[in-house]
Symmetry: C2
């Protein structure tokens, strides 16, 4: 049972849940935090209390007696309403293992080039869990809606988290994306086998594998089939990509497409940046790799000389198809250290996904004003003993 | 009607078809050629006689009276046989507009860094056509095979083109890829509304949108449902990716995955490399962009200062979904020329696909021994008038 602090009624965040002390906050109100990189790979499925937290607003305190999921819009012929017990009993339980990544993961690497607006995430704004619930396809069918035939263009999701002006968090995905993924989109009520914790969407979160975390709406209480994208701030004026010559004086958010599937990503978790190694012959490097849209990871390369020579890492089997890979892979490589180096070594990793898309070499080429999509080759610096 | 040269029986290539004189060969026997980059964008659908040609072996001269398509392997309960007239009459005609790209397109950019083994393609080993035929799904259903349920791992395709030792060209795709694409994989007998020309697979070519040209087998006469990948040279020991530290002395083809979906790509077609511009204020740059696996193009950026500043190009509407985009897009940007430059200007383009995957900045980071997957930022040099 999660403890709840008794609320200061003037502070909308006073009723937020208690968090694991190991989480490293990038902001407190709203609460945003990532696990220490040294703990990220302890388990393939991230423990719920170490799963990165990305909240845009205060955490709702949901009254289960009153809780309803509304399904409305095109094809729904009036509003349909489902209770949580109905979701748990009427539908077959569907489980997907998927990684969620914040659009801003690794933003701290982008900030080094030029300031951006956004939380200063390290490399651990990504985590993996087993999510269970009713499949979106089943829920819509129950409401008389056939995903393959319904004449709409977007599926909108609305959360119960509200800003000071009363507007709720919201997002949407294109209908064709819902069709592509339909067997794997889950109206989830469990995370790693237990009720979803409050910070992660209790009682319901929409899980859309391969898609940016921001569209996987927490505290879900409404699904709308629509001709339009979500009109929310986060869909329209945030979480979009731009080239590096666009800055706040000349940005036009209406000219860019909402981030949905995320690009190929990888990062070194061990050793950690700045670590002093006790060997000067070789180093064992470990990390994660992931790509959005179901693309698996074909290869991870590791370098101990800044990218001049590369070793292909061993990828831990994860029993996923290469074209429907929703979860990360862990990899490891033992790399000889350059001899005669002055005590500092740069370790680099880069992944190649199952579409043979690769991570870009440098941050400069992908810098953007919001610091999203930071997936350049990951570089860390370690020191090695000198005689 | 295509003219056929009367054969010198000692030369297996003597019966190859006549080609358009504008095609630029990268090899003659087998014949491989691309159109001049100045003609590539004259039409959105590449005229058949200017479509790039990638032959691995002599062009078969098919006797239509004897021609049969065999379907065999798991689920086929014995060999099924279809004639060309049956393919044209039994099944509903299905048309897809898709770009085909050679795995080696833009290899000439990779060769500049370090030699590779492969044809020296420029930027035009990519073309687009409207292909019509029977859908693979319909053909298999007719043979009693349900793609979604058949217990096999790969779909193999075999061509009628044979090497000196009698082995035929062959390739395969994973069954799950066949399932993802099934409505759009076509056993094609027409290219841009006419019989497929001999150089492009007469009478049948398998069209698998979003996948490398090498798997879209020409002169198709056999489809095999199997537990195994194609055992062909081209599937097993060619058309695979490696990091830049792998060369012929240490390569192990069994350790890499066959190229299937191609990564995001773009190139400048106008002006052409080396062109002398007659304006020194601004330049209008035009090109193509494409990504494999159905990913559309979200953005193309163009720079006239080697990548320091970028203009977002206008993309010509192509009426494709952003997640099922099989064909290229054409784009255009008018870019101010840097003032005070000494007469030489570097123009650069880069594309971002609908997964927000980007082209890598430099060729060095993606160099590989076969020179495949050459999709770094495209750079050309032009000269501008000095006073
Ligand atoms: Mo995010
Ligand atoms: Mo190719």
């Amino acid at each position: 049972v999660e403890q709840r602090k008794q609320g200061d009624t003037t502070d909308p965040y006073s009723n937020d849940p208690k968090r694991h002390p190991a989480l490293i906050p990038s902001s407190v109100k709203p609460f945003n935090a990532e696990p220490p990189v040294s703990l990220l790979m302890q388990d393939y499925l991230t423990p719920n209390n170490l799963f990165f937290v990305r909240n845009h607003l205060p955490v709702p305190d949901v009254n289960l007696e009153k809780f309803r999921l509304d399904i409305e819009g095109i094809g729904a012929s009036g509003k349909k309403v489902l209770t949580l017990p109905a979701l748990k009993t009427v539908f077959k339980k569907k489980t997907v293992t998927t990684s969620l990544q914040c659009a801003g993961n690794r933003r701290s690497d982008m900030v080094k080039i030029k300031p951006v607006k956004g939380l200063n995430w390290g490399t651990a704004a990504i985590s993996t869990a087993e999510w269970s619930g009713a499949s979106l396809d089943d829920v819509l069918k129950y409401c008389g809606i056939d995903l393959d035939k319904v004449d709409c263009d977007h599926v909108q999701f609305e959360g119960m988290d509200r800003g000071p002006d009363g507007t709720t968090y919201g997002a949407s995905i294109p209908i064709e994306m819902a069709r592509m993924l339909k067997n794997d989109i889950v109206v989830a009520y469990q995370m790693n086998g237990v009720d979803i914790p409050r910070d992660h969407g209790f009682p319901l979160r929409i899980i859309i594998p391969g898609v940016v975390g921001a569209r996987q709406v927490k505290w879900l209480n409404k699904i709308v089939l629509s001709k339009d994208e979500s009109s929310s701030h986060w869909q329209q004026r945030d979480y979009k990509g731009f080239n590096s010559s666009v800055d706040w004086h000349n940005v036009d958010f209406s000219k860019s497409e909402a981030i949905q599937f995320l690009p190929v990503q990888s990062a070194i978790c061990e050793p950690v940046d700045g670590q002093a190694l006790d060997d000067n012959e070789e180093v064992t490097v470990r990390g994660y790799a992931w790509s959005g849209g179901g693309r698996g990871i074909f290869r991870v390369d590791v370098s101990a000389d800044g990218g001049k020579t590369w070793i292909t890492a061993d990828i831990q089997p994860s029993n996923q198809s290469q074209y429907k890979a929703w979860a990360w892979v862990f990899w490891e490589a033992t790399v000889p250290l350059p001899q005669g180096s002055s005590g500092k070594v740069e370790l680099v990793c880069k992944a190649c996904d199952s579409q043979y898309n690769v991570q870009p070499e440098s941050v400069e080429g992908i810098w953007n004003l919001r610091g999203c999509l930071s997936n350049a080759w990951h570089r860390i610096s370690v020191s090695i003993p000198t005689e």
